[in-house]
């Protein structure tokens, strides 16, 4: 008998299910209408789920980066002046805030907005620092502006901390001066008038809390010293107790000296404001303030980079586990295959 004959005979004698089995299977099939697993209707195959989830995750990452970029470019504590001269001022300066920063970039006709918004609070110890960049037409303008700034500092009762003036084709000047804190607004206004404002930032750190703490501690130490002195004046103390109290008195007096130095230093810090002035020319490469779109893009890019870093970190951590799981799956599959071959070889 040849293979075609065998094949013919095998096909002609195809097994047919007996009647009782057919009845049994029909009985099973009748349960179809009864068994409708609700849960399985919503099953999403893994591959199809991944096809949806991956682009969705990427889109979410992009959208969140864009949203964060936009919100950050707005700046909750920054007054930003766009290059076209439109002013947006969003100051969230609270009376109890430890630090307040305000930034202004643009032409000097908007200066008054910042002048009115910024300034030390009377009666509170505050560290005030201002940073200004003004642009003058040429190198001569740089020298003139630097000289005027130095004169102004002296007039206001301040002093120069550092001055660096470069003349030539790309002249520039960098001055750091200290002026009495109650005259810092006047200084900022007048220094801003030296040229076109490129950027302006005023920062106020509240020192009152620190000063109050130092004062309280000073009073407490003074009271303790008075008590100790009174006890040491009595004759009823034994030598050991006296020695212990004297040592403590010495420590407290040392602490009192340190506290007084701290209070004096803080008061000195609060009396004078630091103003940093940069005078530039158009040729000296002063960077124009970025537009809101640029800032938004930059922030969005930063967020995307961070998202990428997080994803990479997760991948690095998960990769060994995934490899182990894959190896286990592969091993199990191989074992099953061999077992099947063995079973079917009988």
């Amino acid at each position: 008998m040849t293979s075609p004959d065998l094949i013919h005979e095998l096909r002609e004698s195809r097994p047919a299910a007996p009647t009782d089995l057919r009845a049994r299977v029909r009985e099973i099939a009748r349960e179809e209408s009864v068994r409708v697993p609700v849960r399985s209707r919503f099953r999403l195959p893994v591959r199809r789920g991944a096809l949806v989830a991956l682009p969705a995750a990427a889109a979410l990452a992009l959208v969140s980066a864009g949203a964060i970029g936009l919100s950050r470019s707005d700046g909750s504590e920054t007054a930003a002046l766009e290059s076209n001269g439109a002013l947006t001022l969003n100051s969230s300066r609270a009376p109890t805030a430890e630090t307040t920063t305000q930034t202004l970039s643009g032409s000097d006709e908007k200066r008054t907005a910042l002048d009115s918004a910024v300034g030390p609070t009377a009666g509170r110890a505050q560290r005030v620092s201002a940073t200004l960049t003004v642009e003058v037409k040429n190198s001569d303008g740089v020298s003139r502006a630097a000289q005027e700034a130095l004169d102004l500092t002296r007039r206001l009762g301040g002093h120069v901390v550092s001055a660096n003036v470069v003349t030539g084709e790309e002249g520039s000047a960098a001055l750091t001066v200290r002026v009495p804190v109650d005259r810092v607004q006047e200084a900022v206004v007048q220094l801003s008038g030296l040229g076109r404002i490129v950027s302006q930032q005023v920062k106020i750190d509240d020192l009152q809390g620190t000063l109050d703490r130092l004062d309280r501690r000073e009073r407490s130490v003074q009271a303790q010293i008075a008590i100790l002195v009174a006890r040491l004046d009595s004759d009823s103390l034994d030598a050991t107790t006296r020695a212990r109290l004297e040592a403590r008195l010495t420590n407290l007096r040392g602490e009192l000296r340190t506290l007084r130095r701290g209070i004096a230093g803080t008061n000195a810090e609060a009396r004078m404001a630091t103003v940093q002035l940069a005078v530039v020319t158009p040729d000296s490469g002063a960077v124009a303030p970025a537009s809101r779109l640029d800032r938004a893009l930059e922030e969005a890019l930063n967020v995307l980079v961070w998202e990428g870093v997080i994803v990479l970190a997760i991948l690095i951590v998960a990769a060994p586990f995934a490899l182990v799981a894959f190896a286990a799956w592969l091993g199990r599959r191989l074992y099953r295959r061999r077992e099947e071959d063995r079973l079917l070889a009988t």
Partner: protein, 187 residues
């Protein structure tokens, strides 16, 4: 000679694929249509009609439980049901092997209920005998490729092997059958 046999097998077995089912048939309709296929496959695998009947019932019970998960884009109803049947059969083979090992260990000479094999009405006794002599793996490929007339690719997917391996296994099985039949003729 062997090459000619290969050509013949392909010439005989390769037919146009069966048309797929139209708009979502019911489980009852699919069961009715494919019951003979599943039963035939399991009969060839187990060589025992009673076991084949039980496993067929079990296959359809499992299939009903998984009915909602069937995805027609991933294969036909027949391939899906045969995959379930194969899994059920392998489970039975495992249980049977365990049972045999237990019996061997306890020294019990078990009474194996070897019923007269009936691979199909009209098969000669010699061919039945020759089929019994094949391994389960060989009978499986004969059942799928010849009796049920599945495509080589479909069988390969079902068995988790390459189409070439399917062909090789089939040719080996047919060769053994041919040899057995020749021996019978000589005797």
């Amino acid at each position: 000679m062997k090459l000619r046999r290969t050509e013949n097998v392909h010439a005989v077995t390769l037919e146009a694929p069966r048309t797929g089912h139209a708009a979502a048939p019911s489980f009852a309709a699919v069961a009715e249509e494919l019951l003979d296929d599943v039963y035939g496959y399991l009969l060839y695998m187990t060589k025992n009609w009673a076991i084949a009947e039980d496993l067929t019932s079990e296959t359809f019970e499992t299939a009903l439980r998984r009915w909602r998960r069937f995805d027609p884009r991933r294969g036909t109803h027949r391939a899906w049901l045969l995959a379930i049947a194969r899994s059920v059969a392998l489970d039975w083979f495992r249980a049977d092997a365990r049972r045999r090992r237990r019996e061997e260990r306890s020294g019990v000479d078990a009474l194996h209920e070897e019923r007269e094999p009936a691979f199909g009405e009209g098969l000669s006794a010699e061919l039945q005998e020759a089929l019994r002599a094949l391994s389960a793996g060989e009978r499986e490929v004969v059942a799928l490729r010849i009796v049920l007339d599945l495509e080589g690719e479909e069988v390969a997917r079902l068995l988790g092997i390459t189409p070439t391996a399917v062909s090789t296994r089939l040719h080996r099985a047919l060769g053994k059958l041919e040899e057995r039949m020749r021996d019978h003729d000589v005797a």
